[in-house]
């Protein structure tokens, strides 16, 4: 669909400088009235663990990633979590922040097929 975009987030707390821009871009796309979904997999899933994103700071003295995530969610960006990645990191659904839907890998393919643009970080 013309107005749907997908951002696949694979970066996590080990690479803080890769963790703010994807949410900033997602927020911008939502402001441009795209329907935005972020699919969290590999290490990206760790950012969805309750309390983690608050500790990830891309720039010394700057905002934590949690703030960028909250901005994106408030603008309407949907967060979906890859079930395989939660298994990789031994994360239970109850460990995740609010507003996150768990989906299988096949959902990623469906989202990608339905999106006019797919970005991967």
């Amino acid at each position: 669909m013309e107005d749907q975009v997908l951002i696949i987030m694979t970066s996590g707390p080990e690479t803080p400088r890769r963790c703010a821009t994807p949410f900033f871009f997602a927020h911008l796309a939502a402001a441009m009235e795209y329907e935005v979904t972020m699919f969290f997999t590999i290490d990206g899933i760790l950012l969805l663990k309750e309390g983690v994103a608050e500790t990830v700071v891309p720039k010394e003295g700057g905002r934590a990633v949690a703030g960028f995530m909250q901005d994106a969610q408030e603008a309407g960006v949907k967060f979906v979590a890859c079930t395989a990645a939660t298994e990789l990191h031994d994360i239970d659904e109850g460990d995740l922040i609010d507003g996150v839907k768990m989906v299988g890998g096949a959902a990623m393919w469906q989202l990608a097929e339905n999106s006019s643009t797919v970005l991967t970080f």
């Binding site: 927020h27 911008l28 402001a31 441009m32 901005d71």
Partner: protein, 146 residues
């Protein structure tokens, strides 16, 4: 020019209150739109880019839907259209100096022009009554430009 909590608001413009945007009817059914000094303040006062939505050029944009985005390192937000109309073009001056939208929001810093068959001020406020309504809204939200 009226001033509310330090925010300058020309009486002759038409405002979509909660979106902090204005409309100015021009000749030939062209409606110029821009952000208010309130939006400029809320955006942090220093913009890195104002980007008019290229995919909406030539298309009808409903009232309240975005015609452009504002961004800075600390802020991202839409510029909702105060009226329903066909998006004609953005303000090229903002490409070179996006901050014009903050420093001169009612003049050189206008955002876009839309085309309408007839200007319909439905949902907008203007004049003394409009400024009074804007004042009430800003006070209820606790917004100040100082």
């Amino acid at each position: 020019m009226a001033e509310i909590n330090g925010c300058e608001l020309p009486e002759e413009l038409y405002y979509l209150l909660d979106k902090h945007v204005w409309a100015r009817p021009m000749d030939g059914g062209v409606i110029r739109v821009g952000i208010t000094s309130v939006a400029a303040k809320l955006s942090g006062g220093s913009l890195a880019a104002v980007t008019v939505s290229a995919r909406k050029l030539g298309k009808e944009v409903p009232q309240g839907k975005s015609v452009a985005t504002l961004e800075s390192s600390k802020y991202v937000g839409p510029v909702p259209s105060p009226i329903t109309g066909t998006l004609l073009h953005g303000n090229d001056a903002l490409v070179g100096d996006p901050n014009l939208a903050v420093t001169d929001p009612y003049g050189e810093g206008w955002v876009a022009d839309l085309q309408v068959e007839a200007f319909d001020p439905a949902g907008l406020v203007t004049g003394e009554e409009g400024i009074a309504a804007y004042r009430e809204f800003l006070e209820s939200e606790g917004v100040s430009c100082d």
